[in-house]
């Protein structure tokens, strides 16, 4: 009661003073003595992680029991790794509870890197360098921006759809994927901005077969990563590299280079995860090979759609006329670079891979 009176005295000048006075006068008000029983609840106390050269990083917190990351995480609650779970918590129903289904050793570092290397399309891009372009060129840039924006939207949906299925035991991955989702949101934003800044507008929706394949993959996160990284991710990364080379102003060059950098983190996570998954499932390599073979059909359908190809060729050639010669030559170079990088990644993962017949023209000759 003494505490309550003290509180009332303090509150005497507050707008609620009357309410407090009435409550104190009533015989019902009791402030229980604190039990503080929670204070002894810790699996490991006395931890002192010191910031290193890179600061106090997420990965550096993995000390003692806090660094125990088991291969299976049966706890289906939101209990943070290392904390003591409460009894009787209803399960959330996470689908991905095995380390092999989500893990990549690099996730914690990639999370830090994504936060540290963030950029803001609104203010970091030198938008004032965008000058009027010939109509055919502006339409091509806007068309490519439309499709890249759509790809980014697919990425947001896919990542978020799987991320909430992952248990809290592998929080490094969940946190990294949160940044990857944010990166994708930034890409959606920046390409939309490029389409709308220079007298053009958004163009035609992309063909979208690969979009559907990624969005509708149901075999697990690893399957989604195969399509998101080895197929779509590498393809977009290659497009960005060529767009940077053929950028028409500093703003575009800044955009392509920075999106490329963001995308490289997702490729690293994907590659690292697939390597981990392969190391822990003897059948995984063959599964990935089969998934890629299935995906080829849909990739080729998108590839056969002329819209993206024509728009890219116009950008590379500088005009519709230029697209017919030099522009298409560069487009073919770009496809060769994509297939070559895709095969290098597969080789590094030791996944058997055969280039499908319609794309054989782009396969390395040796």
């Amino acid at each position: 009661m003494a505490k309550a009176v003290k509180a009332a005295a303090k509150a005497v000048k507050s707008p609620h003073a009357d309410t407090v006075r009435k409550a104190v006068a009533a015989p019902m008000l009791e402030i229980p003595e604190p039990k503080l029983t929670w204070m002894n609840k810790s699996r490991q106390w006395g931890v002192r992680v010191k910031p290193g050269k890179k600061g106090l990083t997420l990965g550096s917190l993995n000390v003692g029991i806090y660094g125990e990351i088991p291969m299976d995480w049966p706890d289906q609650t939101r209990n943070p790794r290392g904390a003591i779970g409460r009894k009787g918590m209803p399960p959330v129903g996470y689908m991905l509870r095995s380390k092999a289904e989500v893990w990549a050793d690099s996730a914690a570092d990639l999370y830090e890197e994504a936060i540290q290397r963030r950029w803001a399309p609104a203010t970091d891009v030198p938008w004032n360098t965008v000058k009027p372009l010939p109509d055919d060129l502006e339409r091509a840039v806007c068309q490519v921006s439309t499709e890249l924006s759509q790809y980014a939207n697919v990425e947001i949906e896919v990542i978020s759809a799987w991320q909430h299925q992952m248990v809290y035991g592998y929080h490094e991955v969940k946190q990294y994927l949160a940044t990857a989702g944010f990166d994708a949101a930034r890409h959606y934003e920046v390409f939309r901005k490029r389409a709308l800044i220079n007298g053009g507008g958004l163009g035609l929706e992309g063909a979208g077969q690969v979009n559907r394949m990624i969005l509708e993959s149901r075999g697990g996160w690893t399957e989604a990563v195969v399509y998101l990284v080895l197929v779509r991710g590498l393809f977009v990364q290659t497009i960005l590299r060529y767009l940077e080379q053929y950028a028409y102003n500093e703003a575009e060059r800044f955009i392509y280079r920075n999106v490329m950098q963001d995308k490289a983190r997702l490729l690293t996570y994907g590659l690292d995860h697939l390597k981990f998954a392969i190391a822990h499932n003897e059948d995984q390599k063959q599964i990935i090979a089969t998934l890629l073979a299935i995906g080829d059909g849909l990739f080729i359908r998108d590839f056969n759609d002329p819209v993206l190809r024509e728009a890219l060729a116009i950008i590379f050639g500088g005009s519709i006329d230029g697209a017919r010669g030099a522009g298409m030559d560069v487009y073919h170079d770009m496809m060769r670079a994509y297939i070559s990088t895709h095969l290098e990644y597969c080789q590094w993962l030791d996944v058997p891979r055969r280039v499908p017949e319609p794309l054989e023209q782009y396969a390395p000759q040796d």
């Binding site: 050269k53 890179k54 690099s106 830090e112 890197e113 540290q116 290397r117 963030r118 950029w119 803001a120 970091d124 990364q237 590299r241 060529y242 940077e244 080379q245 950028a247 060059r253 800044f254 280079r257 920075n258 490329m260 950098q261 995308k263 490289a264 983190r265 490729l267 690293t268 590659l271 690292d272 390597k275 670079a337 290098e344 990644y345 590094w348």
Partner: protein
């Protein structure tokens, strides 16, 4: 005036790069990798730690086994890149690291170990690496022919 390639030249560039705040934002930032620089037969190793390029040293061919990736061009190609950067204040269209990597039959960025994960650091830190070489626009360079 430092001559390219030399440890002195890389140290001069490091000095500018390490003290320029604008290289730390807008997609630049902390960078942790060890990059080899191969100029013809001469080898240098640059160590990037956090916001800084922490060191540059002359090295041997065997040291390339240890770096995450290395950038490989002949002296005249390096010279063209550096002169272009000097003229523009930064790399012009045909001379960004990405473009140089795309334009060559043998890649600009490569590795001895073939570890895709480590090679990809070239792309993860591309903006920072570009800022590093762009910083060379602020020093005078002489080329040993």
């Amino acid at each position: 005036m430092a001559a390219f390639p030399s440890v002195e030249w890389f140290d001069d560039v490091r000095n500018i790069f390490n003290n320029e705040d604008s290289f730390r934002g807008g997609g630049g930032g902390q960078c942790n990798c060890v990059a080899g620089i191969k100029v013809g037969n001469e080898i240098f190793v640059l160590t990037f730690e956090g916001f800084e390029c922490a060191g540059a040293r002359q090295a041997s061919l065997g040291d390339l086994d240890e770096v995450d990736f290395y950038l490989d061009m002949e002296i005249l190609e390096w010279q063209a890149m550096i002169e272009n950067i000097r003229q523009n204040g930064h790399a012009g269209l045909g001379y960004t690291l990405n473009t140089l990597d795309l334009d060559r039959d043998e890649r600009l960025a490569t590795s001895v170990h073939g570890d895709q994960y480590r090679e990809d650091l070239f792309f993860r830190y591309n903006q920072t690496l570009q800022y590093f070489f762009d910083a060379s626009s602020r020093i005078a360079t002489e080329f040993a022919r």
